[in-house]
Amino acid sequence: MSLNYIIAMLLFTLGIYCLLIKRNIVKMVIGLGVLTNGLHLFLISLGYREGGIAPILAGKMLENGATAEFAAAAVDPIPQALVLTSIVINVCTMALALSLAIYIYRHYGTLNPFKIRRLRG
């Protein structure tokens, strides 16, 4: 189980490494994507339960007594809802960032952040 968490934190660190070291804005945006995917993996693994079932209520489970049994066996649904929201936000962010990168290439001719520094001081 802790393998999930270790890999999630590894992805997070790799994302930050990408943001700091790479000299290309598109690679930095990819790093941002890797970073958020690491966070999503971390969040989903939090809600996992060994041998659990998917948290979808079907007809037979709504009888007396069966609901409590279902709640004891199901995986936590809240982190899954949080991750869905976060994936959508992430898609929006990446779309905006990549379109800004296209405009930067049109104006500057390069995507190197060390050369995109006309605004300074």
């Binding site: 997070f12 809240i78 949080l82 962010t93 800004l100 930067i104 006309r118 001081g121």
Partner: protein
């Protein structure tokens, strides 16, 4: 109070944002382009009325708790409005209404205006959502809505400087919000709840166990850094001068008035009320002093007017952090009053800068000069704003800065007061340089036919300048506005009781 007021204050700008393209298409079909502008102005003023209707109940001392969908906390999402929320919501609603009136004329030379108004309403909905919510993941989602819409607004004109500033703001801001998401994740894993009041109670219980688990300082740090990027605390302030310089002036005014205010609110709510950590006030004092000094000294050597105003914004944020960090009643009152004043005079100054850019075409101080004869009203309003921000009596900046100075002396830190007073003098210095370069002195040949700014642009500036003078002559009015907020910040148990008790 209007029924369902807290949720309406978020829903009105959100729906107005989504309906604006439709209204724009219909209006163009009938040939009445202005209908879209009137629609947005109407939505902003409606939102201001809804927020104002919540004021009497909250100022009487009760916490308005609105359960979404009828689910009670901690299983459902609640909107909880207490004194602090209401102060920030009033600031945001007023600032956005005035900017909506201002941008009708300022942005008329740009194309694609329906997208601008949509993004403006989305930023407002995001700000309102962060302010009024009582659930920490809801806060994150609305914070992202606000941030992403503001990234798009900064890069709105798609010139070389707008795009460069936009990408820098975007990458630094996204890193900040991913830190906030990591902290929410850790909090959910530790405690199992997402409601702010519920979390406050449970984290108090965890903090009482000795030794403190390492994860609690880590969570608080990630939150402080995430929100600190939005309010431009010092090592995290690098995106702000570029973004304010390159954005259209109405957007700079919106960013400085609304999003930084919301960032300070979120920081206060999470560190003082969720974690109950008044002990980190010392860190706020030190970082506030550094922010004040760095912002002020960098502003002394700027060539561009909007960049100078941006560094001045960073410096004023330092004052707010200093006031809030003292932790005493007077300190927090001073900090929150300065937050209110900062929204008023910063928006005024950016609107004046926008008026000059609209008429002359440049904001470079070396190319302006002698505009005092051509634009007398704009010059007077800019001078009012500059004197207010430097803390010259009888304007409102003096009242809030004096409260912070006295709070420093009473808390036994005269060094903080000394540094704050010196930076106040330097603030006056660089504003006098700006006034001299722009309005006084000899007038170059190519500026002889510059006319005064048009009336719809002058009206919001006049309203803000009147507020500057009124809050300066009657500071007790400002203190009465701020006292419920300060009481709410120090009353963590009351908040927890009201929100959980309503369920």
């Amino acid at each position: 109070m209007i029924a369902h007021a807290p949720i309406l204050a978020i829903v009105v700008p959100l729906f107005a944002g989504f309906l604006t393209p439709v209204v724009s298409i219909v209006a163009k079909r009938f040939g009445v382009e202005r209908a879209r502008d009137w629609f947005v102005m109407g939505a902003a003023i409606l939102m201001l009325l809804i927020v104002a209707s919540m004021a009497p109940a909250v100022w009487r001392g009760e916490v308005l708790v609105y359960k979404l969908g009828g689910w009670s906390p901690p299983w459902g999402i609640v909107l909880a409005v207490d004194g602090l929320n209401l102060l920030v919501a009033l600031i945001i609603a007023s600032v956005v209404s005035l900017i909506a009136i201002y941008s009708v004329v300022y942005m008329e030379r740009d194309s694609g205006l329906e997208k601008y108004y949509t993004l403006l309403m989305l930023v407002t909905a995001g700000c309102m959502g962060v302010t009024l919510t009582g659930d920490v993941f809801n806060l994150f989602v609305f914070f992202e809505i606000m941030s992403i819409s503001s990234y798009a607004l900064v890069a709105f004109r798609r010139n070389w400087d707008s795009v460069e500033a936009g990408i820098k703001y975007m990458i630094i801001g996204s890193l900040g919000t991913s830190f906030i998401l990591l902290s929410i994740t850790l909090m959910y894993g530790l405690v199992g709840s997402l409601n702010i009041a519920d979390l406050a109670g449970k984290i108090e219980a965890i903090k009482a166990t000795q030794p403190l688990p390492m994860i609690v300082p880590l969570m608080l740090t990630l939150f402080v850094v995430g929100f600190g990027i939005k309010i431009a605390m010092v090592p995290l302030h690098a995106w702000l001068p570029d973004a304010y310089q390159a954005a259209p002036s109405a957007v700079s005014a919106l960013l400085s008035g609304a999003t930084t205010t919301v960032g300070v609110y979120a920081m206060l709510r999470v560190s003082y009320m969720l974690f109950g950590a008044l002990a980190i006030g010392t860190m706020f004092i030190i970082l506030g002093l550094v922010t004040m000094v760095v912002g002020g000294l960098m502003a002394l050597t700027q060539r561009d007017l909007k960049r100078l105003l941006a560094y001045s914004s960073i410096s004023q944020m330092g004052y707010i952090l200093l006031g809030v960090g003292f932790g005493t009643a007077m300190g927090i009152q001073g900090g929150l009053f300065h937050l209110l004043n900062n929204a008023i005079y910063k928006v005024l100054l950016f609107m004046c800068a926008g008026a000059i850019v609209y008429r002359v075409g440049t904001s470079n101080l070396d190319e302006l000069g002698g505009l005092g004869k051509n634009m007398p009203i704009t010059a007077t309003l800019f001078i009012v704003g500059a004197l207010a921000i430097s803390g010259v009596p009888p304007f409102n900046g003096f009242a809030s800065k004096w409260t912070i100075y006295v709070a420093g002396m009473e808390a036994g830190q005269p060094i903080c007061t000394a540094i704050a007073v010196v930076m106040s003098a330097l603030t006056l210095a660089y504003f006098l340089k700006a006034i001299n370069s722009m309005f006084l002195g000899q007038q170059p040949e190519h500026l002889r036919e510059v006319r005064e700014a048009p009336l719809p642009m002058l009206f919001p500036m006049l309203v803000l300048a009147v507020f500057c003078v009124v809050l300066g002559i009657l500071p007790s009015l400002g203190m009465d506005l701020v006292r419920p907020a300060q009481g709410a910040v120090m009353n963590q148990l009351g908040y927890i009781g009201s929100v959980m008790g309503a369920g």
